[in-house]
Subunit: 377 residues, 2 copies
Amino acid sequence: MAGPLYTARPGLDDIVIGDSAISLVAGETGGLTYRGYDIQDLAVETPYESVVHLLLAGSPPAEHPPAELVRALAARRTLPPEAQHVRDALDPVTPPMDALRTLISALGNGQYPYPPTVEQGYELIARAPTLLAGFVRRSRRQPLVEPDPSLGHVANYLWMLSGVRPTTEQVRALEGYFILLADHGMNASTFALRVVLSTNSDLFAGATAAMAALKGPIHGGAPARVAEMLDAIGTAERAGSWIAERLAKKELLYGFGHRAYKTDDPRAVRLHAIAREVADRRRLELAERVEEEALAALRRARPNARLFTNVEYYSAVVLEAVGLPRELFTPTFALARTTGWVAHALEQSVANRLIRPDVRYTGPTGLRWPRPGSPPT
Amino acid sequence: MAGPLYTARPGLDDIVIGDSAISLVAGETGGLTYRGYDIQDLAVETPYESVVHLLLAGSPPAEHPPAELVRALAARRTLPPEAQHVRDALDPVTPPMDALRTLISALGNGQYPYPPTVEQGYELIARAPTLLAGFVRRSRRQPLVEPDPSLGHVANYLWMLSGVRPTTEQVRALEGYFILLADHGMNASTFALRVVLSTNSDLFAGATAAMAALKGPIHGGAPARVAEMLDAIGTAERAGSWIAERLAKKELLYGFGHRAYKTDDPRAVRLHAIAREVADRRRLELAERVEEEALAALRRARPNARLFTNVEYYSAVVLEAVGLPRELFTPTFALARTTGWVAHALEQSVANRLIRPDVRYTGPTGLRWPRPGSPPT
């Protein structure tokens, strides 16, 4: 309470809010580790459930995938009738990201008290894909596809969405994506969740707030714009002129620059490798040419800015390659990130303290309120 | 980006996150002003709509109540069918605070893009009471009560809840409460909303996150516990011994202490005055005796702590006096605070920057991931 105040820079990027032992974002060197393990190693042939174990328990499982955790998630996928009712009542034109926020909020119906537990976390991680896939199929007037307990977490998500068995290649690519997006330090959605948990509010309330933040295009809401940009450019040959025109009009290019990284975003590097395995050859060539031309043009325009391809760029290429429509890019990001949110909720609750910063008041003071009936001052 | 990092104290109470011209919490002197006007003046015979005008427009209206704003809110009270469907689909046993969060989230169905506007704010402020009252009546199996455009914002809330015309005394008391709780600087729910808006996510997403934070007992979720404590004590004569016993068992007393105030909470002072006007005489005597004994005992136990009656204490007395059941204490706080949230969302969007603080990583580094198939390390 006592003691001097410190005025933060806008956006709080100079403020260390506390300790965390979950992920390390090494912005200068382009590294990202979960519990000390490099994501470049994690995101190769690892089941998502192994990374759920790593992030929540703090250590690798004894087997891959961890059989007990796989069963725990699979057993929780089916929705209780109350959640189905809300899903079916939602306006089908609701954007899926808003719908998933409302549905996660509705899961928090008083049954999951503070403090958060690993079991509560499993409920959130396991049910979020069922909520999203069910809402999407219902809004398309397609019959629902029940979760299949014989499928892993990521394969089952694709199955519930499409009603078609995903290929090994699709599952492997999306599993890599889920792992790469599972956590990322004190990003805005995770921070919103921590602010909520700091009041001793519950995990589902926290995840609802995180969903609210992840929606914003400055955070998670923009990967679809990369795909739209690639469509607008159309062919690799047009990349140079399209980008030059765009920049001349002072319009944005999507998929470049991230506050945390002063070099290649390690997730973009790995997602590019996954895209090479799974994407349509012409789409990949287009994406690679646009990336090359865009970085060159951006660096010519702002020689001192350290601009690199960010996570959204190859996310868009990978997500479309596994068959996801654009309106599901950000909600799919959210599904991957639920694991990180649970890890942060558990960590926040260990040494919790209300997060309540200060502001500098810059308005008028000492004014006299015109009482009702008296003429305004 | 560049520049030194500053390690905040847990809870960020030493961090000034930026400028605000909305409310000034003077913690040392026990003052609270909205746009420069003292709440002690505002919360006497002022219609809530006048304070909505003050907080959103930044200046008092030309007339009380402001006719145009009264019409704007009244015209927006009726729910669109999509919101009614979600209300009717919610599990009736859902705690009302969780239900209201889900319903506010469902209002955000893609129709209210960033940046927030005053009109969007009117929608939120006007519809939140209709959502809450409708959910509560439905969960009690009572017929819905349509909003009455001839009633002011606060009177109409009581009407929709009870189906009975509230008395002038009840409306005046609850109007005072709504005004006193309408804003309070950078509290945790408002901060959660600002984090969400900083990603360029929308007002309804922000308000959903704020609802998630306000639920926590460390923030807005505890006033019902004051009423339970008064019930447990029962009569004024038992206050001294009950409190002594409680403190001897190291158990908490509710309604005392607030991080922001080192003297009387100005809202508690005014709510006490309102309680004197509206509360049952014996309940008031009980509350006053418990307050007196509790403060004396707490100060004996911790002579150096500056402990005062906080806003929750007489909130509980006032809210029960106007006929609200305990499970609606915190949701009613939320209804009052929607106006502050809208004001902060509008202010945040003017000079917006992504709020993304840093953390100090304290976990292991440089570990080798055991590839699937290989034995664990």
